[in-house]
Subunit: 390 residues, 2 copies
Amino acid sequence: MNDRAVDRAAWENRDLEVGYDVPAEIGDLIEDIQTPALIIDLDAFERNCDRMRNFVETMGLRLRAHAKTHKSADIALYQTTRGGACGVCCQKVSEADALIRAGVTDILISNQVWGEKKMDRLARLAKKARVIVCVDDAANVSDLSRIMTKNDVVLEVLVEIDCGAARCGTGPGIPAVELAKQIAASPNLEFAGIQAYNGLAQHIIDGEERRSAIAASTAKAEKTVSLLRSAGLECKIVGGAGTGTFNLEGTSGVYNELQCGSYIFMDTHYGMVRGEDGERIGGFENSLFVLTTIMSRPEPGRAVCDAGLKAHSIDSGLPTVFDRTELAFVDASDEHGSINDPEATLLLGEKLKLVPGHCDPTCNLYDWFVAVRDGKVEALWPVTARGKLF
Amino acid sequence: MNDRAVDRAAWENRDLEVGYDVPAEIGDLIEDIQTPALIIDLDAFERNCDRMRNFVETMGLRLRAHAKTHKSADIALYQTTRGGACGVCCQKVSEADALIRAGVTDILISNQVWGEKKMDRLARLAKKARVIVCVDDAANVSDLSRIMTKNDVVLEVLVEIDCGAARCGTGPGIPAVELAKQIAASPNLEFAGIQAYNGLAQHIIDGEERRSAIAASTAKAEKTVSLLRSAGLECKIVGGAGTGTFNLEGTSGVYNELQCGSYIFMDTHYGMVRGEDGERIGGFENSLFVLTTIMSRPEPGRAVCDAGLKAHSIDSGLPTVFDRTELAFVDASDEHGSINDPEATLLLGEKLKLVPGHCDPTCNLYDWFVAVRDGKVEALWPVTARGKLF
């Protein structure tokens, strides 16, 4: 072992090495997937998509599915074909770019964009696809108009109002109308409506409290739409809603585009947000899992798996072990998860499916979705916009 | 805007688009870096490396710097050349592979490896570089021996003992000796010593409590080394320690390899772990920052920046705003950070440096480190092993 001269042939055989970094091959059994891996139960995923499509079709609404959840072109294209979506949302210009390059043709950046470089990129994208952006500030509107004019392209713009989440957004009512007027009067910008998303309300566990939060948001959106109409400004898009509240905005008569993202996958936190009937919201099932392997069992009752903080995001709580209620995921460090196993049934090398605490930042940790049906790998979908932060 | 025919020339000009995904160019001013971005203050980084090198040289110890912090071949090679390290650690086979392909020649996987595919890959790596691995289970030792024999390569193996962190590891003392004997008797395995890392102790804020935890760990390591010696098994490596406790294991006379990782960067949590003198541990400075831009200022006193849960990990707490004690980062959602600005000084478009709550999982979110000196970009270092989870 002292003379470890590099084996040049092996060294240069990089393709094989890189092949190891793909978690599975088509046709592999679940047991053969390298872990930790992000897997999708395709049957559950497709049923979730059907449930949402049925809802928007019944209500006569548009679904603009949020791609910040999955960052995958394959999933975005599934949503806009079989999933009943008119287009997708994303949060960053770089995300939009990655998705548009992969074939997405109608995209709302449901966020503010600051900085000349990002606005130039936005202008380039608006030449390739339908691109819509949000604003909440007059100076931002001026910058966007200047840069779209320079690039000879027209950009659709929504006024984002703060309808209760206390994050971004101008005040509803008069301040929103002022901003809309500025947009309408700005060269190379087209006023397209309002963005009225209450992100905080999505995760309110108590059903009555959630309903009341969305009633207040909807009233602000409705008042703003009405004032805009009086000012001669029609809202082509009244957008908002997420997985936790889509049935409330969706039946309000005010919103015409729903921006749900997590419904396709669900996660531990959304599993706690229940409908009026006490059932899982929208009937959505867990279709996203972190597949993990037991790699140490230091003493009876305590096991360690290979999925830690770099394999799932704990910002909204720890994951749960799917279909194994006797097991509890109790702690995560960077590359390890600690599991309590009071019946001492876990075996070394055994695989478990974890339901992540929060699906969006979890997906952003992976290069691949491993799509599984009937115990076998059916597809590998790249996380197209993973790490696209700008 | 109704006819959005794709501009084929622009569409196919992909290089330019991809160029946008690099956060900066060499020579750019900090103000021109696209955000959110992970930046390194090179002067502070180099001083941190010097401090650790001076300590191990003075104590006559080896530093095996932990690459799970940075996952960067450039930084690993800096550590093993100018930084006084004999090699590096990592946690996963895929991480080791990425770093070895990029030129690292001496690497400890400070973790258990389960599964035939991973062990085959480990064997291939052991033909290219010095590779060491940890075990805590007899069946794992048998598997490793079988697969190394099949691949005709000898692997160095450390017995991991649980010295107080209650994660992986066999019991110290007799159980460790039994496992070491099995390794020594196994074809194509070489017993190389013990792994005795107390991860829990690194983050104990109280200095006396931390010292006491490491005194207990060290006693377990010492007893194990002594029993192994009585059994005729010398420990070439007695490894452990992290940034929070390196001075304790380093002056114990028991450990000969320190595995610190975070010392190069530091973070908000390690900033709270103080030495006996009440000063920052080891004198290490913050050299790692998430550069962020203010993108909304909905009302005086409240601002929103573009760095949320996908731009830094909050598992160990929220980030702080560097050098701006009047500002408080109070909440993070997926793509937004909320900042309290009681003096209402923040401007739209202004850039801030955040000290992340936890450096390791934060680095894993990025494709690039932007290395900065004197206000200018001096280098771009890829996060070589980002997302290498297997």
